[in-house]
Amino acid sequence: MQKQNGTELKNKAKQLLQNKTVDRVAGFCAGEFAYDPSPCVFYSAEEIEENMIYDCFCSPNFSKFLVKETKKPGRIAVFMKPCDTYSLNQLITEHKIDKDKIYIAGIGCDGMVDVFKLRNKTGSAILKASCDNGALTVKTPDGDMTFAFDEVLAERCLVCKSKKHVYYDELLCEPSFETDTGRFDKVEQIEKMSADARYEFFRSELSKCIRCNACRDACPACTCETCVFGESSSGAESRENANEFEEKLFHIIRAYHVAGRCTDCGECSRVCPQRIPLHLLNRKFILDINRFYGVYQAGETVGQIPPLTDKNESDPEV
C-alpha cells in the first residue's frame, strides 16, 4: 500500500509549482475505473486539485517517461517509489536523463495491486476499490469483498528488492532499506529443472507472445532510438511472428541486451497482455552476474560501471 496519500502528494505538488522549484509535475490522473489512473503532467495548482490522485493502483514506473519529458525546456517534479529510482539512476548513468531537469520526491511504498490477480479473485466486475490498512476492499455486483494486501500484490512487489530510494531531491517518507524477499527463489527453482524441462518451461511461456512489443516499449532499459526489431532492413521486424523461433529470438535478444542494465523493475511483466513472466529471464542474468562478478545491483548509484562493461583480471572469462 502506498505510504503517502493523494492529498499529501497534491499539496506537495502545488507547493513545488508555487515556489517555482519546477514548472510542471508528473503524477497520476484519475481514470474511469478504480484501477486505471493515467500518467499525467500537471501545469497548474487547479489541475492538480481537480485531477491528481495517488493510490495502490499507481504502478507504472515513471523513469522511462522522463527520457522524453526532459528533452522539453524547464524542470519537472516526479513522485517516485523506491524501485523507480533504480531505473532513474541507470538512465542518468546512460546519459538519457539530465538530472538538472528533474526534481524527485521519494514516496514510500508497500507494493502495488496487480489488477489481473484481483480480477481472478473477484470473478465479477470491479465497480470500486480502495486500499486501507493493509487490505483492499472491492465493490462488485455480488457485494463487497476484502482481500489481504499480499493476496493481490504484483509479483514484483511481493519480492520487493528495496524500500530504499537511491535517488531523490527530497524524501517524503522515512528513509528505508534494501529488502531480502527471496526474489531469486523462482530462478533457482528453474535452474534445478532438467535442461529439457527448462527448455519446455520457457518454450511454453514464450510461445504465448503476440509480439505487441509492450515489454520493450515499457522497459526503462530499452531506450534505443530505433530498435533492431523495429527496423525493416534488419530482417527482424517488430511484428512478425512467423514461427515460435521468432518469439524466443526477440525475448532472448532483449534479455541479453538489457543484461547488466536491467534493475529488475518488473515493468515487462506488468505490461505483458499475455502474462508471460518475462522478468525471470532478466533475473536469471542478474543472478549469474552476482555469482560471476560479485553482487551487483544496476541503478544503485549514478555512474557505476556495469560488470559486463568493465574488465578485470579477476573476471571468470579472463
Binding site: 475505473f33 470473478g123 470491479i126 512489443n213 516499449d217 521486424e237 497482455p273
Partner: protein
C-alpha cells in the same frame, strides 16, 4: 429451441467434437490468460467471463502463409495456400466478438474478397454464449450488441440449464448433436435475456461511453485533447492485437529450402514503421498514430462503412499498459461535442 441441463454440456460438446473441429474458451490456471483452443479433453474450459483473447484469430490468424514460390528444374511456380474444406465449431463466443466478425466481413468480404478469410468464415459455425458476468469494462450495448443472443446458434445459461436457439441456416447443421443431448422446449427465456441485457447496460464502461461521438472528421481531428490523450501511449501493439476489429496486416516473403514463402501477419497502426514508404511513415508522431486508431474506430469506419469500428469488448480498456484507453477517448470526444454545441 433446445434445452439441456448444465451437467450435460460436456456430453453435447463431446458429441460436436466427434464430428467437427471444436474450439472453446480455456484458461489454464489462475495465472494464465484465457483464449480459444481446441476442445481436446474438455479440461480447463472458461465460460464465466470474456476471454483475454477473442475469436478473431480463428478467422484471421496472427500469421499465415498465403502462397509459396517454388523453383524446380529451372521452372518457377506459384502455389497458393489451399483452402481447407469442412465445417468447424466455435462454442462460447461472446456477442461482442461476433459483432467484431461482422466488422471484419465489411473489409475482407468486400471486393476483392479475401479467400482465406472467406473460407474460414464459411466454415465456422459460431455458437455464442450469453454474457451473464459482464466486466466493468464492457460497453458492447453502446454499439447495439445484444449480449444475450448472437451467432449461428445462441446459447444462454440460466440457473440450472443451457438453452440453444438456432439463428441461421448454418446453425441448423448442429441439430443432430443438439437433438442427441438436449430436449426441444417452448420455454420463454426472454425475461432471462432481458436480465442479461440490463446488467450489461449498467456496467460502468457502458454508462461512461453511452454518448458516442457523432461528429465528422473535421470537427474532431484537430482537437487539442489528442495531445493529452496520447501523451503516455507507449506505442505498443497491445490494443490492436487484442482488438476484435483491427484488421491491418503486412506481407513478407522469406526464403525456404526451394524458394520462398509469402506470409501475412498482423500489423499495428501504433508502430513507428506502420505503412512506412520510401518517404517515411506518414504519421510522424505517436499522437498521430494514436489519433488514427481511435478516429478509425469511432469516425472513419462509421463514415465509410456505416457502423462503428469498435464493439465495446473492453479488452483495450483492460490491457493498455498506460491506461490510455477507448473509454477515456470517447468521454473526451464527448466533451468536445459539448464544446461545439
Amino acid at each position: 429451441m433446445y434445452k439441456c441441463s448444465k451437467e450435460s454440456l460436456g456430453a453435447l460438446l463431446s458429441a460436436i467434437n466427434e464430428k467437427y473441429a471444436l474450439y472453446v474458451p480455456k484458461k489454464h490456471g489462475e495465472g494464465s490468460v484465457s483464449s480459444f483452443e481446441a476442445y481436446g479433453d474438455g479440461e480447463n474450459m472458461y465460460l464465466s467471463g470474456i476471454t483475454d483473447r477473442g475469436i478473431k484469430e480463428l478467422f484471421f490468424p496472427q500469421c499465415e502463409e498465403i502462397a509459396r514460390f517454388v523453383t524446380a528444374n529451372g521452372a518457377f511456380g506459384v502455389k497458393e495456400t489451399a483452402v481447407k474444406s469442412g465445417y468447424n465449431v466455435i462454442f462460447g463466443a461472446r456477442a461482442c466478438d461476433i459483432k467484431g466478425l461482422q466488422t471484419l466481413d465489411l473489409v475482407f468480404l468486400a471486393e476483392p474478397e479475401d479467400r482465406l478469410y472467406k473460407s474460414r468464415r464459411e466454415a465456422g459455425i459460431v455458437v455464442s454464449l450469453s454474457c451473464g458476468e459482464p466486466s466493468e469494462t464492457c460497453f458492447c450495448t453502446c454499439f447495439g450488441v445484444d449480449p444475450s443472443k448472437s451467432g449461428d446458434i445462441a446459447a444462454i445459461g440460466t440457473d440450472g440449464a443451457y438453452y440453444f436457439e438456432i439463428l441461421t441456416e448454418k446453425g441448423r447443421l448442429l441439430i443432430p448433436e443438439l437433438s442427441s443431448v438436449c430436449k426441444t422446449t417452448d420455454d420463454d427465456i426472454e425475461a432471462e435475456r432481458d436480465k442479461i441485457r440490463a446488467k450489461a447496460a449498467l456496467m460502468p464502461a457502458a454508462l461512461a461511453a453511452k454518448d458516442l461521438p457523432d461528429k465528422k472528421t473535421d470537427e474532431l481531428f484537430d482537437l487539442p485533447v489528442w495531445d493529452k490523450l496520447s501523451a503516455h501511449c507507449l506505442g505498443c501493439g497491445t490494443c490492436t492485437y487484442l482488438c476484435p476489429t483491427c484488421q491491418c496486416y503486412d506481407i513478407k516473403d522469406s526464403k525456404t529450402a526451394d524458394g520462398a514463402a509469402r506470409c501475412r501477419f498482423w500489423d499495428s497502426c501504433m508502430y513507428s514503421d506502420f505503412t512506412k514508404m520510401s518517404a517515411g511513415q506518414p504519421r510522424l508522431t505517436q499522437k498521430e498514430r494514436y489519433r488514427q486508431r481511435f478516429m478509425h474506430k469511432l469516425v472513419y469506419f462509421k463514415e465509410n462503412q456505416g457502423i462503428y469500428g469498435c464493439v465495446g469488448c473492453g479488452r483495450c480498456v483492460r490491457k493498455c499498459p498506460a491506461s490510455a484507453h477507448m473509454i477515456k477517448v470517447i468521454k473526451e470526444l464527448g466533451k468536445a461535442d459539448e464544446r461545439h454545441t
